[in-house]
Subunit: 347 residues, 4 copies
């Protein structure tokens, strides 16, 4: 008996990636492809890669009706939608995996400050579980509502967590310089995301104000038991997929490269999707493309007494759809890596 | 009991794609990763996407030794190697799927003229089977030696075959203008294939002399029972993967768009990997990326009495490694699409 | 005394390229940057490459007012606008170089059929001069109204003209397969032109129906004194700039490669911007990027008795703004190459 | 009477960019195109963009002979060559602009440590002038030997200098995260720089060890009168040209955004090629492509008490050839911007 899944927001890039991955997931059946903009159109006419693989039409986004028909709903929608639709009745019927930011931040004032919208169902904030599987796997297993982490956030937290948690770095010195492929900007038709504007170009954006910042601060702050403030700067890179973060922090204590490796092993050795690269090897986004892996490595710079932490993932997979499925696997008692074991695509 | 597979030339792009696809093929176990240039090195250090997925080192390319250990050998090597290594003893022990050109052309003089090397084992030319699965599937099933078609060739023949075979077009008017991603040029370190030379650039190459030409002529000529001479011009496009062919031919008889569609249906309706797109939709290479699909469509231009035939595939999958696995499936009695059913990656 | 120039449509890509080139033209002063969408905004805030180089704001597009203030107006606007604005009063005051299609086709019925709009001032069709400088230079010198050719058209006509004119090829066999960078699609915010949709992708579009087709047919038809019908297929390539055409035609008579070269020399040896490449060298778009050059070469394929003709140019320069300035130079008695002599940018 | 210029290393990307820019420089005549690898070949066959623009063949690299014939020699060669060739006799005859690292670092032990080669003419280190025109313009005017700064260095120093010099930031907190286009890696045929390896990919490299680090430290250290140690991490970005640096530093004192702007104005208001962007606008490499401009801006992040400094330039122009010409202009008493005033190319 397969898990019946519905997707709201199936025609965005993250939604389409959910579809791609779920199609090969042997325990899941996609029952509902919701899309506000394309109701009634063939889904495969919106994403022709699915031609002859999917016959369904896009459905509207009636969550009540959907909750009757499926076991899990993925919300691949803009902030504010999930929190405005959700209620106890729905949650009693169906598990929700929200790819938006609505339930990522436990502190509603922080959410409302950074997202500049009023939270519509703060009563579920406590119940919701932050879906960073490698850190909150146990809680996720019994959750009804999972907040799937942001793409930058997943890469940043997983890359830095062990060093923050173990007190190896001075957390307030943490600076994260992040580089993202353009699919992170979504499929909306905006001049800034046109081919000719992005190609042969690189820029920072949202300097000091990007909304993934408080999310990183919250969970790394939890790790070091501090109110944490960090620098986070995203950049737009001319490529479709991939996030690379390069993080800088001052060492709290003297450590060797091997000690650092041991710490990462301690946290991640049994984690399927985290790969600590060999000494001296810098992560490259191409090495994880299309896969759910996060590649991480660190280099201690004795000249500056800093450690440089690098992490790479595919923003649409481990940064969105893949992680959502990893969460689903945990929530339904499946092996965590079910449907997610494909090797990265290179070149 | 899994099929044991060896790859000679595993560190080229086609070889690495074989590895990627075979890793997810549940009936196959990779036993031997041969590579002349990297003997003794960790395979995953040459292709870091396989880090922690493959622990094996690169082996030398001793085909005799390899034939004792595996059930099938994939030769992802330059022209001339397979024909120089093969013999009856080897073929009696192991099935060979040759991704090079050595056994694609039945006429040894044509081979020697276009490839400018002497064929080392013409005695196997008759036995060898041309591995274009959709057309020669029955013969492939019992073959010991399969000549896996070229990437341009696969796209060109599959796209044009029904119209040639049915006498819809005048075959001698056929002009194929092909566009390929850069992975087709291989991983050799050449100035012409540097990022800065390929990026923001497009060019034709091998005009009138590309070696896939006689291969296309041979098999389309077989379809129309003629000695065929066509125009074929490849172009290098700034993208990693993908081949698009745009072919032009004068109509032999008056046909409607629907009649043409019916002909394609007749040949391909039960073929897993050929998708005849809806009327008016032009194939795009991105829609087949990472998959074994070939997307085909045609448009009749009544003004010129020509038909424009378009086909798209991923040169490393259906144009190389995917088709090789499709051949293997047929040769070992597996379902033809085993291990090849993944949806294309978009974007 | 400098020529005073106004641009209507200055915030499209072609308009911005006009601005870039005119800024370095020592005989011209830009007086008016018209833009329907950005009236009142700093031009340099729309194109930040001009920051501190241009202080002007975008003006509305009042052609009457503009005609009082300038010597030449460049219309870098959608089809239909120029023909709706122009009149004898304006033409008596100012020279017009129209980068749209309005005056390219002398036959108004052909225009209305392909563009599907009614022509608003057919009375100027006879007077207007087709601004393909290498062929119509003498007429352009005394023109009041010049129709700047399309980008595909310029590349196609210049590449094929000598062979058509001299009866070397059978003109009705001509097939032009064209490949264009994405700036040709303009700066409008459309999903199809998003980075993620164009990158790592190639496709044909407008098959059998592209509007540059009748323009090519008209002027090549004039060359061979025939009503000409050809095949023309454009493709979208993942690069910002550049057009490459690969054209195929059957030879009308036996010619040697040297005879063909001599014919091209006859037509183009004194043309500044046409470069007939050395034998065997295929044009590449990167070699003309940012410049007004057209690189052309041909290869005779004795196997098929066809000749393959290749041409490359920068669609925004020789295909739009550069040619417009070349026209202006001719119209104002300046050296044809004034302000256009820069070497291409590589890489 | 034009300045006669020779280039040693004319067939690298920086050398070719020198050629491109000098061709349009009305006071200069190129007399010698030296290239070890291509001696005797037509220069325009190595860089076909110069076809019909340059008839010269590549010459060998005999500096003694060259010094007799020209007024200035540009050395666009690997480290170690210039210092091994130079002597008093040569310097007495010709001005040298060295684009390599040989004379950038005044401290020979630092040079030998980072470059791992012995310096062949340390006796000229004191005399040589660091060719960062905006800071050392006066000294450059009378120099015989100019050390043209590195590409990363130019961008880093110019972006950060005013804040370091004025004590606004704590210099030892400075972290520079740099992103470069691939032309910075040169035209050598290396697997790592192949199209398929760079495209759709981003990575850090040389973490903690990149050779531009001590150069940045030396000149920013001079500004703050300290032995400075900073973090510098370069990244390879899939684009041909462009460097973006994103730098982070803790504020030394409370300043407003306006005060910071005033400081930049103080240093750069009369500098032709430095553009301090409007408040809130982040530099983009595309906005300076093909030009000699450096775009700079800063954003104060009150949450972290850090300032984020961003700078963008074209690595082949202001980061190499353009700056070399700017140096030449100063050395020969020409206007600093002669031959360098072109607007950036967009898109």
């Amino acid at each position: 008996m397969k898990i019946k899944a519905g997707i709201i927001g199936a025609t965005g890039y993250a939604g389409a990636e959910l579809v791609r991955l779920l199609l090969s997931h042997k325990e899941v059946e996609i029952k509902w492809l919701g899309s506000k903009s394309y109701v009634g159109q063939q889904y495969a006419s919106v994403y022709q890669n699915f031609f002859q693989l999917i016959d369904d039409k896009c459905m509207d986004e009636q969550i009540e009706q959907l909750a009757e028909q499926v076991d899990v709903i993925f919300m691949a929608t803009p902030q504010g939608l999930c929190s405005s639709l959700i209620n106890e009745h729905i949650l009693s019927k169906v598990k929700i995996i929200d790819l938006s930011a609505d339930f990522r931040l436990k502190d509603v004032t922080v959410y409302e400050k950074w997202y500049k919208i009023k939270h519509q169902s703060p009563e579920f904030l406590e119940e919701s579980v932050y879906g960073l599987c490698e850190l909150y796997g146990e809680k996720i297993k019994s959750a009804r509502l999972v907040a799937n982490p942001g793409c930058y956030t997943t890469c940043s937290i997983l890359s830095c967590y062990p060093l923050v948690k173990e007190g190896i770095i001075q957390p307030e010195t943490l600076i994260i310089d992040a580089k993202s492929g353009t699919s992170g900007a979504g499929r909306g038709a905006k001049t800034d995301n046109l081919y000719c504007e992005v190609n042969e170009n690189i820029k920072a954006y949202g300097v000091g104000t990007h909304r993934h910042t408080p999310e990183i601060e919250a969970y790394l702050g939890e790790a070091c038991q501090k109110q944490l403030t960090i620098s986070f700067t995203p950049h737009l890179v001319p490529m479709n997929r991939g996030i690379l973060i390069t993080a800088y922090a001052s060492l709290q204590k003297q450590v060797t490269q091997q000690e650092v490796r041991d710490i990462y092993q301690k946290y991640y050795q049994d984690k399927n999707f985290i790969r600590i690269l060999d000494p001296g090897i810098c992560p490259q986004t191409k090495w994880v493309e299309g896969s759910n892996y996060v590649d991480i490595n660190t280099i201690i710079d004795p000249r500056t007494n800093r450690i440089i932490i690098m992490g790479a993932l595919d923003n649409l997979v481990k940064g969105a759809a893949g992680q959502a499925i990893q969460n689903m696997n945990l929530m339904f008692g499946l092996p965590e890596s079910e449907g997610l074991t494909y090797a990265p695509l290179f070149p």
